[in-house]
């Protein structure tokens, strides 16, 4: 009891610490491909065809949806790390009293 939570909190913090915690780092890595999903450099050739415009519009909507979903997934990962950090913050305060 006299050791408090220190060891366990330090260990838990390695998972959720901002920037270098394992979970925020995973979120950062998974956020990298988002730019590729949202990038629409275009497939246009020299010609012009209505059916191409319609198809590209549907493609753009889909890739944006997938990109947004990837962003949201990474946000949830970071929010999860934040929730853990808050628990650790409260426990560290308690730790000073144990």
């Amino acid at each position: 009891m006299s050791d408090g939570f220190t060891i366990d909190l330090d260990e838990a913090e390695r998972g959720c610490r901002s920037y270098d915690g394992s979970l925020p780092q995973a979120a950062l890595m998974l956020r990298e491909p988002v730019a590729d999903l949202l990038d629409h450099a275009g497939w246009d050739g020299r010609g012009r065809f209505d059916a191409v415009d319609r198809m590209r519009s549907a493609y753009r909507l889909l890739s944006e949806e997938l990109g947004d979903r990837q962003i949201r997934g990474c946000d949830v990962m970071e929010d999860t790390a934040e929730a853990l950090r808050e628990i650790i913050a409260v426990y560290r305060r308690v730790d000073g009293q144990v």
Binding site: A12, L37, R46, L84, E86, V90
Partner: protein, 317 residues
């Protein structure tokens, strides 16, 4: 050398065909043919259809998206980071601790699902690439056959073969979109199925000036029409996928229970406890500190809000 007929290839070939159409008129009857005029008038429209997509850009996009899919679903380092987070939490038990650990598994499932969805979209991109290349090849074949037919008319004999090879886009698209997206590989050329088996042959009629011109126009119109139908089929596939993605909410987006959040009175030490400490004496201390923490957060938020408002910045953030 490109793996497809370039814009210049097609441009030069159509110029040659139009020249032979004119020569055909001069040498045969030295007269104008309405059929030839109508065919030549349609050439820019046909070229517009078949060169509206740039295979090089689609190929590059395919590769970029394929690598993105790999970095989402086969990212060993990211998965290792997620999994080791669970190891870092190993000392903690209770409903909330369990839920956090479960959430890590849900994250992995999310990545796997995202990869599948990106690959399914990529399958459509592969289909677009394939028909972009085949449309150019088919049109080029029609032009060559049209040129040969015009030459035959000029020499008044069957000196050149007037057979054109046209791809059956509907069948190609159906097979590509029916592929298992998990089997997609790097490099769109590796995806493209054996397109040779989807080729139909047609003849450009070299029985006379009008026959050549009408035959060219008919085949090129038909090509553009089936190209449009194939593109619409791919559009429909993209739209269907979009609807599926829109309706399918991943487990990761389900909010964690309130007891995982220190801001909530549902949170308690019992729900996130380590194995060394009995909740008996610590539980009330955690609750007291939790309440103070929440109150301080609220006060800080209010203070920040007040300052921003004072500087007139509120609402900008």
């Amino acid at each position: 050398m490109a793996d497809w007929r370039t814009d210049d290839d097609i441009h030069h070939a159509t110029n040659t065909m139009q020249d032979w159409f004119r020569v055909m008129c001069e040498e045969e009857w030295d007269t104008r043919s309405e059929a030839v005029d109508a065919a030549i008038q349609q050439v820019p429209n046909h070229m517009n259809c078949v060169t509206a997509l740039d295979p090089a850009k689609i190929r590059d996009d395919y590769e970029r998206l394929f690598q993105a899919a790999v970095r989402i679903g086969d990212n060993d380092l990211a998965v290792a980071k997620i999994r080791i987070t669970g190891t870092h939490l190993a000392a903690w038990t209770g409903d909330a601790a369990d839920r956090f650990k479960e959430q890590l598994t849900v994250m992995e499932v999310f990545c796997d699902k995202q990869q599948t969805l990106v690959l399914e979209m990529l399958r459509g991109v592969a289909a677009v690439y394939t028909i972009a290349v085949l449309a150019r090849e088919s049109y080029f074949s029609i032009i060559e056959a049209g040129t040969a037919a015009a030459m035959n008319v000029c020499v008044q004999q069957k000196a050149k073969e007037t057979e054109a090879k046209i791809s059956l886009y509907a069948d190609v698209i159906k097979d590509i979109l029916g592929m298992d997206a998990k089997n997609l590989r790097s490099g769109v050329a590796n995806v493209v199925i054996d397109v040779g088996k989807y080729v139909a042959t047609t003849m450009i009629d070299d029985g006379g000036i009008d026959q050549v011109a009408n035959s060219y126009r008919h085949e090129a119109d038909r090509l553009c029409q089936s190209l449009g139908q194939a593109l619409d089929a791919i559009q429909g596939d993209f739209a269907k996928q979009h609807e599926k993605v829109d309706n399918e909410k991943p487990g990761l987006f389900v909010p964690l229970p309130a007891y995982c959040d220190v801001d909530s009175p549902d949170f308690s030490y019992e729900r996130f406890r380590d194995t060394a400490h009995d909740p008996g004496p610590i539980g009330p201390q955690v609750e007291a500190e939790r309440q103070k923490y929440v109150e301080e957060k609220r006060t800080n938020d209010t203070e920040i809000g007040r300052r921003l408002d004072h500087h007139g910045d509120k609402g900008v953030i």
